[in-house]
C-alpha cells in the first residue's frame, strides 16, 4: 500500500476543521564494532501514522505504527475523540495549502541497498588499517531509507524518500584515542579508509599524554568540535517556540552583531552534503534560511502555529511533534587549512571533539563539556604532545565572537555541516585523569 493511500484513509475518517496526517516508513540498519570486531548488528523496519485533528481550536493527536486498515481507522477515530476532549487554544492558524516544491535528487540506490555483508566489508577495511598501528577500533557503519508522506485537508499531498549513511570510527591505544566520522546521503561519498587513517593518526599522535593546567587557551577545533557548539547554539536560539517563551538568545540579539563576522550559518535543506528534503512535517515548502550572517543573527525558524502566533511568515520548519527547528544547518567555510591554523598558534590546544555537552545558561549559550578522542598541545605552530582530557565551561556567544579563522573543508557530522575554527580563547575549567 502506498503511504499516501494510508494517509488518505486516515484523512477520510478524521473529522476536524483542520486535519493533517503524516505517514512514515523506515528501514534502518546499523553494524556496530568494538575491539576491532562486529559485536552488534541490527535492522529495523518500522512505520508511523500520525493524525492531528483540530476542531474549533481543540487539538487531538493519535499515533500508531500499524498500517492495517483497522488500526489506521482506529487511530483517526482516537484523534477525533481526543480533539473532542481537548481544551480550546484561542490562537488561530492555518495549515499549509497546495504549494510548489523545489526538486531534490533521486535517493542513492547504493545507499538504500547497502547489505550487511557490504557493511562488514567496510569494517574489515578499517580494522586492517588500525592493525598496522596496533590499535583497536570501535564505531558504526549504518544506512537508512525513510519514506515520508504528508496529507492535509487544505490541499497538501506529498510523498518523498530520503536515504542516509554514516561511518564513524574511534581508534584506541592503551593511553590515547582518535576519532573521525561522516554522514552522507550517498555511501559512496564516505571514504572509510580516509576516516580510519585520520582516527588512527590522532590515536598514534596522542600517545603518552601529559597534563596541563586549566585556564584560558587559544584553540583550533576540528569540525566535530565546531559542530557540537553549533548544535547547542541552534537548540537554544533558533526555535520560534523558544523565542515565544523568552528563552532564545537569538530573539534577544536579533540584528545585533554578537558573534564574529567570520561566522555565517544557513539552514540549507538542499545542501548536497546533507540529506535533502523539499517539505517540512506540515508539508510546507522548505527553503534556505539565513540564521546568522557575518556574526549577526537574522532569522528564527517558524512552523504554521508559531508564525500565526508571532505574526511572522512560516519558514517551513515544522518537525511533527516538536517545536519548529532548523535541522539542515551549515556553517560557511573559510579559506584556511587546519595545518595553517595550527601554524599560526604560538601556544594553544587542538581539540578533536567534545563529549557530554550540556547547557548551563541558554541566554549566553553557557555550557560545560569534556574533550574526547584527541586533545593536543600546540607549540610554536606545531602539534607537539598529546594532552589528557579536560573540562570546558564557557559561553559559546563569547567564544564564537572570537573566531580568528574558519577552515576551508566542510564535514557533515551527524547532520551539521561544519568547518574547523581557530578561536582566540576557550576556558578549560578542569581536568580528568586520562
Amino acid at each position: 500500500m502506498k503511504l499516501t493511500d494510508v494517509a488518505k484513509k486516515a484523512l477520510s475518517v478524521a473529522n476536524g476543521d483542520k486535519v493533517d496526517v503524516i505517514v512514515t516508513k523506515s528501514e534502518e540498519a546499523l553494524t556496530r564494532f568494538a575491539n576491532s570486531y562486529i559485536h552488534q548488528n541490527v535492522k529495523q523496519t518500522n512505520g508511523m501514522v500520525r493524525v492531528r485533528v483540530i476542531k474549533d481550536g481543540k487539538t487531538g493527536i493519535a499515533l500508531t505504527n500499524s498500517f492495517d486498515e483497522e488500526s489506521v481507522i482506529d487511530c483517526a477515530k482516537k484523534a477525533n475523540e481526543l480533539a473532542d476532549l481537548a481544551v480550546k487554544d484561542p490562537q488561530e492558524f492555518e495549515l499549509p495549502g497546495k504549494s510548489e516544491y523545489k526538486s531534490i535528487p533521486v535517493p542513492d540506490e547504493a545507499t538504500k541497498k547497502l547489505s550487511p555483508d557490504q557493511r562488514a566489508d567496510i569494517v574489515a577495511k578499517m580494522v586492517s588499517i588500525a592493525d598496522k598501528d596496533n590499535l583497536k577500533i570501535a564505531g558504526q557503519v549504518s544506512n537508512s531509507c525513510d519514506n515520508f508522506c504528508v496529507v492535509n485537508n487544505n490541499g497538501v499531498e506529498i510523498e518523498h524518500e530520503e536515504v542516509s549513511s554514516k561511518v564513524s570510527i574511534t581508534a584506541m591505544s592503551e593511553d590515547s584515542s582518535g576519532q573521525a566520522d561522516m554522514t552522507a546521503p550517498r555511501i559512496g561519498d564516505i571514504n572509510a579508509e580516509k576516516l580510519a587513517t585520520e582516527a588512527c593518526g590522532r590515536a598514534v599522535q596522542g600517545r603518552n599524554p601529559i597534563s596541563i593546567d586549566p585556564g584560558d587557551y587559544e584553540v583550533v577545533m576540528l569540525p566535530y568540535a565546531t559542530a557540537e557548539f553549533l548544535r547547542y547554539m541552534i537548540y537554544t536560539g533558533f526555535s520560534a517556540e523558544s523565542a515565544d517563551s523568552k528563552r532564545s538568545w537569538v530573539d534577544q540579539n536579533m540584528g545585533k552583531k554578537v558573534l564574529s563576522d567570520k561566522l555565517t550559518l544557513i539552514d540549507d535543506p538542499f545542501h548536497p552534503m546533507g540529506t535533502q528534503s523539499f517539505a517540512d512535517a506540515e508539508g510546507y515548502p522548505k527553503d534556505s534560511l539565513m540564521l546568522v550572517e557575518n556574526g549577526i543573527p537574522k532569522n528564527i525558524a517558524f512552523n504554521s502555529y508559531f508564525a500565526a502566533k508571532m505574526g511572522k511568515k512560516n519558514t517551513g520548519h515544522a518537525t511533527g511533534g516538536w517545536g519548529p527547528m532548523p535541522i539542515n544547518v551549515t556553517m560557511s567555510p573559510g579559506k584556511t587549512s587546519v595545518f595553517d591554523m595550527i601554524k599560526s598558534v604560538k601556544k594553544g590546544i587542538l581539540i578533536s571533539r567534545f563529549w557530554y555537552t550540556n547547557i548551563m545558561d541558554p541566554m549566553t549559550v553557557q555550557l560545560t563539556t569534556m574533550t574526547r578522542d584527541g586533545l593536543f598541545l600546540i607549540e610554536d605552530g606545531k602539534v607537539t604532545k598529546g594532552l589528557k582530557n579536560m573540562r570546558i565551561t564557557d559561553k559559546v556567544l563569547r567564544v564564537y565572537d572570537g573566531i580568528i579563522d574558519v577552515g576551508d573543508e566542510l564535514i557533515n557530522t551527524d547532520g551539521i555541516i561544519a568547518p574547523a575554527v581557530h578561536l582566540k580563547s576557550l576556558n578549560f575549567s578542569g581536568s580528568t585523569k586520562y
Binding site: A29, L30, T31, R32, F33, N35, S36, Y37, I38, Q40, N41, V42, K43, Q44, T45, N46, T59, G60, I61, L63, N65, S66, S71, L82, L85, V87, D117, A120, D121, V123, A124, K136, A138, Q140, S142, I169, T170, M172, Q179, K246, R247, Q252, W355, Y356, T357, I359, M360, D361, M363, T368, M370, N389, R391, T393, D394, S429, G430, T432, K433, Y434
Partner: protein
C-alpha cells in the same frame, strides 16, 4: 502472541541460528502537556512490533519489524541469521552466554488505578489546574506534563523460556520559567526531566501534591533571578534526592556497566575507569556508602520481573561498606567473568537489542534526619534539582548544575544561590560522603531518558536515594 514467538524461534533455528530469542512488545502511551494555560499536547501513541536476536556462526544478528504476521516473521528470522553471518566475517571469539534457568511465567501488573481508567478530560483539567498554580508575575513560561503507559511484553528463547510481562507506568511534573529580559531561571517539581516516574498508578502522582506546590515553585523561579551567584571554592554540600539520584546514575550506575568495561560502548557512550580486578577490593566510597542494584523494588521505574536475556530480577550489592563488589551485566558479559548474570540486559523497544542497562540502582538509606545533615555544616551549600549534567567518557570528571541552592552557615540554611555548580572525580566524591539521610527521607526517583547504544536507546531506570552530605567539594564553576 506466544505462537508468533514460537514461530520466530523455529524459523531462525532452521535458518542456522544456534541461539534465538524473540520479543514482542506492545505499548500504549498517553501524553498530556500544557503550556501557559493552553493544552499543548493531547496524544495517544500505540506501538507494537517484534525483534528476533540470534547467534549464528558464533556472532550476533538482530532484525525487527512492526508488522506482526507469519510471512514477516519468516522474513525477519532469515534476515537476523543473514546479519549474524555477516557479523561473523569480522569476528573475535564465538559468543558465549552464562547459563540461565528456563522460565515459563505470566507476570501481571499489580497496579489497580491505571490512569487510563480515569477520564482524559479529568486528567486534562488536572494538568491545566496545575499550570494555573504557576501563573504569577515574572513567570514567562509554565508547562505541565502527564504521562502514562500500558506495556505488554512477550519473550521466548530457544533455551525454553516463555515469559509474559505486563506493566503500567506513570509520570507527572511541571516547570516554571522566569525571566527578567536578560536572564532566565528554571524551577521544576517534583524533579527535572518532566517530573517523577514510576511503575504505578494515579495514586503515585497524587503523592507529590502537585496542586499544592505550583505557587512555591513559581515564586522560587522568580527569586532565582535576583539570588546571588554560587560562591567559588571547596565547600561541604548537602544534595537533595532527585539531584543525588542523577549523581548516582552518572558516577556509579554507568561506570559499573560491564559492557563499557569490556569496551563495547567505546565509540559512543564511552568506557569506564572501573575494571574487573577491582571487584571486592576497590574503595569506591566511604564506609557508609552501600549501593544496590535491585530490579525487585515494587513500583520502581527501573524494575521488572525478567530482563531481556530472560534472567529473573534480583537484588545485588554493587558497593558494600564503600568497597566495589560487582558489575551490572548481561549473560554475554557475565560469561566473560565466569559469573551468572544479575539480570540487567534490557532493550528500550521491540526494535532494539538488549544491552547492559541500569535497573533500580540505589544508595541504601543511612540514619540521618534532614536537620542532622545540615546542622554539622559550618560553611556549605544545599543543592536541589537537576539543571545541567556532564561527565567524561571514562566516568571520572563530572560537573553538575542544579536549578538552585541555599547557603548553609553554621548549621542553618541561609540565602538562596542561583544555579550552583559542583564538580569532582567520581570516587573522590563518594569517598567524601559522611552522612546519608534515613529511611523516612528515602524515595525512588525514576529516570525516563537514560541514553546509550547505537541506534540510541532511551531506557527507563530508577534510583532510590535519600539526601546525603559530602565534604569539601569544588563549587561555583562558571559562576
Amino acid at each position: 502472541m506466544k505462537k508468533h514467538i514460537e514461530r520466530a524461534l523455529q524459523k531462525a533455528k532452521v535458518a542456522g541460528a544456534t541461539y534465538v530469542d524473540a520479543r514482542i512488545l506492545k505499548t500504549q502511551d498517553e501524553r498530556i502537556a500544557t503550556k501557559n494555560g493552553v493544552l499543548d499536547n493531547l496524544s495517544s501513541n500505540e506501538s507494537k512490533g517484534f525483534g528476533i536476536r540470534v547467534i549464528a556462526d558464533g556472532a550476533w544478528g538482530f532484525s525487527s519489524s512492526s508488522v506482526i504476521n507469519d510471512s514477516e516473521i519468516d522474513k525477519v528470522a532469515q534476515e537476523a541469521v543473514a546479519i549474524a553471518k555477516a557479523s561473523a566475517k569480522v569476528k573475535h571469539e564465538p559468543v558465549k552466554l552464562s547459563p540461565v534457568e528456563a522460565y515459563v511465567d505470566d507476570v501481571k501488573s499489580p497496579v489497580k488505578d491505571d490512569p487510563k481508567d480515569i477520564p482524559i478530560s479529568d486528567r486534562v483539567k488536572f494538568a491545566l489546574d496545575c499550570d494555573k498554580t504557576m501563573n504569577k508575575d515574572g513567570i514567562v513560561s509554565r508547562s505541565t506534563r502527564l504521562f502514562n503507559r500500558h506495556e505488554d511484553k512477550w519473550f521466548g528463547s530457544s533455551e525454553g523460556s516463555m515469559i509474559y510481562q505486563e506493566d503500567v507506568k506513570v509520570g507527572a511534573g511541571y516547570t516554571a520559567i522566569a525571566s527578567n529580559g536578560k536572564e532566565v531561571a528554571q524551577r521544576s517539581y517534583p524533579a527535572s526531566f518532566g517530573g517523577v516516574y514510576s511503575r504505578d498508578g494515579w495514586n503515585y502522582i497524587e503523592k507529590y501534591k502537585l496542586m499544592e506546590n505550583g505557587g512555591r515553585i513559581a515564586d522560587e523561579a522568580v527569586q532565582i533571578l535576583s539570588a546571588k551567584p554560587c560562591p567559588q571554592g571547596k565547600k561541604d554540600i548537602v544534595i537533595e534526592g532527585s539531584q543525588l539520584a542523577l549523581q548516582l546514575h552518572e558516577s556509579i550506575g554507568h561506570p559499573v556497566e560491564l559492557d563499557r568495561v569490556f569496551g563495547t560502548e567505546a565509540a559512543f557512550a564511552g568506557k569506564s575507569f572501573v575494571k574487573p580486578e577491582m571487584m571486592k577490593d576497590f574503595r569506591y566510597g566511604s564506609d557508609i556508602v552501600n549501593i544496590t542494584a535491585d530490579a525487585t523494588i515494587p513500583h520502581a521505574f527501573g524494575g521488572f520481573a525478567y530482563d531481556d536475556d530472560g534472567v529473573k530480577a534480583q537484588r545485588v550489592f554493587i558497593i558494600k561498606d564503600g568497597i566495589f563488589q560487582r558489575f551490572l551485566d548481561s549473560r554475554e558479559d557475565a560469561a566473560k567473568l565466569n559469573m551468572a548474570s544479575m539480570g540487567a540486559n534490557r532493550a528500550s523497544s521491540w526494535s532494539r537489542i538488549p544491552i547492559v542497562r541500569m535497573v533500580s540502582v540505589n544508595l541504601e538509606p543511612g540514619n540521618s534526619t534532614f536537620d542532622d545533615l545540615i546542622k554539622d555544616v559550618e560553611d556549605g551549600i544545599y543543592l536541589s534539582t537537576v539543571l545541567t549534567w556532564s561527565i567524561d567518557d571514562m566516568r571520572l570528571n563530572f560537573q553538575f548544575t542544579t536549578e538552585l541552592g541555599w547557603e548553609i552557615k553554621n548549621g542553618k540554611l541561609g540565602e538562596m544561590v542561583k544555579r550552583p555548580t559542583y564538580t569532582g572525580i567520581s570516587y573522590d566524591f563518594w569517598r567524601s560522603c559522611d552522612a546519608i539521610g534515613n529511611k523516612d527521607l528515602w524515595d525512588v526517583w525514576g529516570v525516563p531518558n537514560c541514553g546509550k547504544g547505537e541506534p540510541m536507546q532511551l531506557m527507563h531506570v530508577s534510583h532510590g536515594v535519600s539526601p546525603a552530605r559530602f565534604r569539601q567539594i569544588q563549587v561555583g564553576v562558571g559562576s
